[in-house]
């Protein structure tokens, strides 16, 4: 798994590549925790290049989503492929997060 970060105005976009699984979820979670801890952060996690996300990865998203709420921030997601969307649907996660089709659509919106 690789994690890249892009700042775009008031947004921070975190792009994850590869597998979010039992081994990589911890690093992913630590990265999100560090970013969210600053408070008032508007984060977008771009999942377009992930291969799959296991329950360990969903746990990280859940914890990060709560943490963002508690620190007056937001955590949104984008770039869900059909296969990844199916995993979100199985866990009924689709309603828990603000989900956008792509990073490009988010950036095209006026702030």
């Amino acid at each position: 798994m690789e994690i890249a970060e892009q700042r775009a105005g008031h947004l921070t976009i975190i792009e994850v590549k590869g597998r979010i699984d039992s081994n990589t979820a911890k690093v992913f979670g630590e990265r999100l925790t560090t970013l969210i801890a600053a408070g008032g952060q508007r984060l977008v996690v771009d999942l377009k290049n992930i291969i799959y996300i296991s329950s360990a990865g969903f746990r990280v998203l859940l914890v990060a989503g709560r943490h963002a709420e508690e620190t007056n921030g937001t955590l949104a997601l984008c770039g869900l492929s059909t296969e990844i969307q199916r995993l979100f649907d199985l866990g009924a996660f689709t309603d828990l997060f603000e989900i956008h089709p792509s990073r490009e659509e988010i950036l095209a919106k006026p702030a």
Binding site: D21, S22, N23, Y52, S54, S55, E83, L90, G91, A92
Partner: protein, 150 residues
Amino acid sequence: MSAIAPGKVSLVIGNTLAEMEKVVDLVDHFGAAHGIDRPIVNDLNLCLDELLNNTISYGYDDEARHEIGVELSVDGAEWVVEIRDDGRPFDPRRLDMPAPGGPIKDRKIGGLGIRFVKTLMDDVDYVRSGRYNVLTLRKKLPGEASGGNR
């Protein structure tokens, strides 16, 4: 296009999360060698991640090194995976699988892994054989290899 050729490989790993990487590599290579569609390979890796993580994290009463055997075989019509461990008797099919729901602050993740396994695999079978848990996953394959790495 030809039918998927039969084959079998196996691997033994230790009971650490780090060693699960070897299983991911084996599944990837086996899937590619047999021309199995990428989404099926990914589903299998996801299910193995859930099951092996569960065994490694919660399956043992001691701190000793244990071995977990993983065997992959394909006969053209289906992909069969057998996982064999000497942990406490545990049939994951009997694990509670509460329907997920509710707001983010109350949401629990328990049961999600087994929900993935039961949904993404076509069949999950379990037997206790001597001091071993033997779990068999079956995933049906399309009739012909598409040969694609989507």
